[in-house]
């Protein structure tokens, strides 16, 4: 059995062409789904595959589809979240660049399963180059008759529109994404209703991450059970791990869910650069709680990471070696969340700026004894009180950095001294 699905042809420029993809058996799964299977049979395979939402939340993909109300008279939409704005994450970019047809085929199958005839791909403005590659692939697929009216004579219609956002982190949050797609300011919505009931333009909408959809052709082709067997229980299949930071070989690695973090860092990414010691790892994109060097024997799946108080998130692994000042690292993260807070609700709007200013003051050598307790308190006041998860995302690094590396922070605050080795 093969051990790679999406990354088999990474870095092969031919692979993004339709002819190459067809030679590889491409669009057979979609054709099979549309001509041989009912939408429910398609959804059943995806449920069986244990495919989880790979944007970060990890919600079972097949179950999400089932939330579409059966009796709504409104059109249904499929929206692809290709905003990929979580720092440390660059897997979707690889999909657009090297295997765009996997995404497009996944879109056909998913749209068929939920009964959508219109799909929107929302991608960040900074991905203009990759969006053009995706558009080229889409144009080819349209010419081949895989999109448009009456696909494969089944009577199923599907159009796809690629929309470029303006590059706001918050527009990766699914309800802010919908607002942005509707032409409004990217402000998250209050829930309920959830998008499956009232999403884009008030219509039932399924929002799936790029990577999630890209795995669906393989699931249909080889079966949900096969995919599920590749991972750990309840964490089906493979996924793309984005590894960045102080490793010898940063990049995207396609590995089973549940691969130990140590193996990813030391075997696949080549270990820490320049023979230095590992200090800290952010396992799943900048929002997820940081891990100490002694915590990396964890399996990289949703449940194992949750069990040790962190999150798999988008599997954006940020590796920091002993030369890293974690106060500065946290200040960089805090600056990011301050910059990206949408400003809609009070705790996140005011709290992210407050935390960033405290951390900058500490870095300037102006820290006071109360600062660390106050940071934890402010982060605590943001957590769980906001409309969307950005508030939690901004608070989690503050908790984990300060509690796990308290000595470094106290040294900065009390002695004005950085403990990072230079």
């Amino acid at each position: 059995m093969m051990e790679k699905i999406l990354s088999r042809h990474f870095f092969n420029a031919e692979a993004r062409k339709l002819s190459f993809y067809l030679n590889d058996g491409g669009y057979e799964a979609a054709r099979n789904a549309l001509t041989q299977m009912t939408p429910q049979q398609v959804a059943d395979q995806v449920i069986r595959s244990n495919l989880r939402g790979l944007g970060g939340a990890g919600f079972p993909a097949g179950r999400k589809w089932s939330f579409i109300p059966k009796d709504s008279p409104n059109p249904r939409y499929l929206v692809v979240n290709c905003d990929e704005s979580e720092p440390g994450t660059f897997k979707d970019r690889h999909i657009l660049e090297w295997t765009p047809h996997s995404l497009l085929e996944g879109i056909i199958i998913a749209a068929y399963a939920i009964g959508a005839s219109q799909c929107f791909i929302y991608t960040r403005g900074e991905y203009l180059h990759y969006a053009r590659m995706l558009q080229a692939a889409l144009d080819e697929a349209c010419q081949a008759g895989f999109f448009g009216k009456n696909i494969w004579g089944t009577g199923f219609d599907l159009d796809v529109l690629i929309h470029l956002g303006a590059g706001a982190y918050i527009c990766g949050e699914e309800s802010a994404l919908l607002e942005s797609l509707e032409g409004k300011k990217g402000w998250p919505r209050l829930r309920p209703p959830f998008p499956a009931v009232s999403g884009l333009f008030g219509c039932p909408t399924i929002i799936n991450n790029t990577e999630t959809l890209s795995y669906i052709p393989a699931i249909i082709r080889y079966g949900g059970s096969w995919f599920a067997g590749l991972g750990t229980p309840q964490n089906g299949g493979l996924r793309l791990y984005s590894v960045s930071g102080h490793v010898k070989n940063p990049g995207v690695y396609e590995l089973p869910l549940g691969t130990p973090l140590r193996e990813i860092i030391y075997t696949h990414a080549g270990g820490i650069r320049q023979g230095r010691k590992l200090k800290a790892v952010i396992p799943g994109g900048s929002s997820t709680p940081v891990l100490r060097a002694d915590e990396i024997d964890v399996r990289m799946d949703f449940d194992s990471l949750a069990a040790i108080g962190s999150l798999l998130g988008s599997a954006g692994i940020i590796v920091m070696d002993e030369s890293t000042c974690l106060v500065k690292a946290l200040a960089v993260l805090a600056k990011f969340y301050h910059h990206e807070s949408c400003g809609q609700c009070t705790p996140c709007r005011e709290g992210t700026g407050w935390m960033a200013r405290i951390l900058n003051r500490i870095l300037d050598g102006q820290g006071v004894r109360d600062d660390l307790e106050n940071l934890l308190r402010v982060a605590g006041n943001i957590r769980g009180t906001t409309i969307c998860a950005l508030g939690d995302a901004a608070a989690m690094p503050v908790f984990s950095f300060i509690t796990k590396f308290r000595d470094e922070f106290e040294s900065h605050v009390l002695q004005g001294r950085c403990l990072a080795s230079k």
Binding site: K185, H338, S341, C342, T346, P347, R349, G353, I358, T385
Partner: protein
């Protein structure tokens, strides 16, 4: 119809009702900034976070719907802590310039800090500087430093005025309220954003620095600006006249009425109160002869008027008397005047000024008829049904039939029909609150009280009779129109008691079933959120 428990009290609410509404039904106040019952729920300020049993975290009362068996707590430690922390966040970049802020005293940052805050600030950073105190429209000043971004004003301009001038620009704590490019906040209802702004971000240009709000008194009233009859509050300052340059009535605020104006009023009405304390106010009785004008006492004026009426009836019969009423008079005054007219046999009555043209009208509150009580005049029958306007009375004067004309409030000198003939009258009596062209040529001028200076009622275009209450005493020697008529009527054998205002109203309600309405029960000022230190908000 879910039944839920809030703070140990059970309440059953209609399906879809929020926890906020359920709490309000129980009289439990949940603090809020962005929530306003007249606007779409924003859910952004997070001040109304409450604890719901079995829920993983606190939730906002303004949005979460009540559910069967739900158990809600609004006073537990987590809730108190959440309120404190929201206040701390809101105040972290707030300039705390209360001593120079007009909102001070009616500010929900102040009120809620005193009730739900009272924490020791741990904010050491520099506050964000923003643009302060700049006009964004004819009536409204914006201070972006004081703004807490509740978005009430934005939603008002989207949903109520539907004029879309305001928005929130930029992201995070750089967010601020801004005008749409090239626009001004100059819609017909712009003043409402000042009312709904819970802090001092939007203040009233006219009211700025006129008076500290805790020196203001309030009276329930009805806007006299058009025939809609929006329910309003008169805010007036009489104890510290030096604070507002001698002006007494300083601002009008809408008063909630679900059937008439909800929470709103138009700018035309809101800023239409200047006449109450204007220099044009008549304060003295004036008797004018060809040679000179003399100030008279009330007794002299009443005597003079009684003599003229009696004399004219004696010489030419009661047909020689005409009364030109005004649709700005209250039901009580109209009824009193009409009663006297009937008593002495005057049937030459009308109120429809031929020079008056319909004004601006919209599909919301503003009515083309700029008089508050046209309907009252019509219901009381104080006009000549066979004629389309009051111009017919000019003909009566022209023919020499009407020799003595008593004009209430109106400026007949503006109407071409009357301009020609007013000079033919033996006596022209003007009763009104403000000087106008008719007052200039009248042989007797009687200063009358404005709606702010007496109790009364107006009937709006829908036929709803609504009471207003006196805020301030009549200026100078001004009298309510019915009081003047009462003084005259006693010379004609009527009882003064018949003209007492409560008696006028009760007689009116008995005599004209149309006026026997619930809306005519005494008005009550809406409950206003009070701080725990026992100070009234106003």
């Amino acid at each position: 119809m879910p039944t839920l428990t809030i703070d140990g009290q059970q309440v059953t609410v209609s399906k879809g009702a929020t926890i906020m509404q359920a709490a309000e039904a129980l009289g439990i106040y949940i603090p809020r900034y962005c929530y306003h019952p007249g606007l779409r729920v924003a859910g952004s300020c997070r001040m109304c976070l409450v604890e719901i049993e079995k829920a993983p975290k606190l939730d906002i009362a303004c949005y979460r719907q009540a559910a069967e068996g739900m158990v809600v707590h609004t006073t537990t430690e987590p809730v108190k802590l959440a309120r404190q922390s929201i206040l701390e966040f809101l105040l972290s970049n707030h300039p705390l310039d209360c001593p120079v802020c007009d909102q001070s005293g009616e500010c929900d940052l102040q009120n809620f800090y005193m009730e739900f805050g009272l924490y020791q600030s741990r904010f050491l950073e520099n506050k964000i500087k923003r643009r302060k105190a700049f006009p964004i429209g004819r009536h409204v000043m914006l201070d972006n430093e004081r703004c807490i971004l509740c978005s009430r004003c934005v939603r008002f301009c989207e949903e109520v005025s539907r004029s879309h001038e305001l928005g929130i620009v930029n992201r995070g704590d750089r967010s601020e309220i801004a005008l749409r490019e090239g626009s001004q906040l100059d819609n017909e209802y712009s003043g409402n954003v000042i009312d709904i702004c819970p802090v001092g971000a939007l203040t009233e240009r006219e009211f700025r620095f006129q008076c500290r709000v805790w020196y203001l008194n309030r009276a329930a009233s009805v806007c006299p600006g058009c025939s809609r009859g929006c329910n309003i509050e008169l805010h007036y300052n009489v104890n510290r006249p030096h604070q507002s340059g001698g002006k007494r009535v300083l601002r009008l605020k809408p008063r909630f009425n679900a059937e008439v104006n909800k929470w709103w009023m138009c700018d035309e009405g809101r800023y239409g109160f200047e006449f109450i304390d204007a220099p044009s106010r008549l304060q003295d009785f004036e008797i004018r002869t060809a040679q000179r004008t003399v100030v008279a006492s009330r007794e002299q004026a009443v005597q003079t008027l009684s003599d003229w009426i009696g004399d004219s009836i004696d010489r030419h019969g009661s047909q020689s008397l005409g009364i030109f009423l005004s649709p700005k008079l209250s039901n009580e005054d109209l009824y009193g005047i009409g009663k006297f007219a009937r008593h002495v046999g005057i049937d030459c009555l009308d109120f429809r000024n031929p020079s008056e043209r319909p004004g601006y009208q919209d599909d919301f509150l503003i009515q083309a008829d700029k008089n508050p009580n046209t309907r009252g005049c019509l219901e009381l029958g104080l006009y000549r049904r066979s004629e389309d306007s009051g111009g017919w009375m000019a003909g009566e004067i022209q023919r020499g039939k009407v020799r003595v004309l008593i004009v209430f409030l109106q400026d007949l000198a503006l109407a071409p029909e009357f301009q020609q003939v007013l000079g033919r009258l033996e006596r022209l009596v003007f009763v009104g609150s403000n000087r106008n062209g008719t007052a200039e040529i009248a042989s007797l001028v009687v200063p009358s009280a404005t709606y702010a200076e007496k109790d009364g009622s107006f009937t709006n275009f829908e036929g709803r009779a609504q009471r207003f209450e006196r805020a301030v005493v009549p200026l100078g020697s001004a009298v309510a129109e019915a009081d003047l008529v009462a003084s005259v009527a006693v010379s004609f054998g009527m009882q003064r008691e018949e003209f007492e205002r409560e008696r006028l109203l009760s007689d009116l309600r008995r005599e004209y079933p149309f006026f026997d309405q619930e809306a005519l029960n005494p008005p009550e000022l809406e409950w206003v959120y009070q701080t725990p230190i026992g100070q009234e908000r106003l």
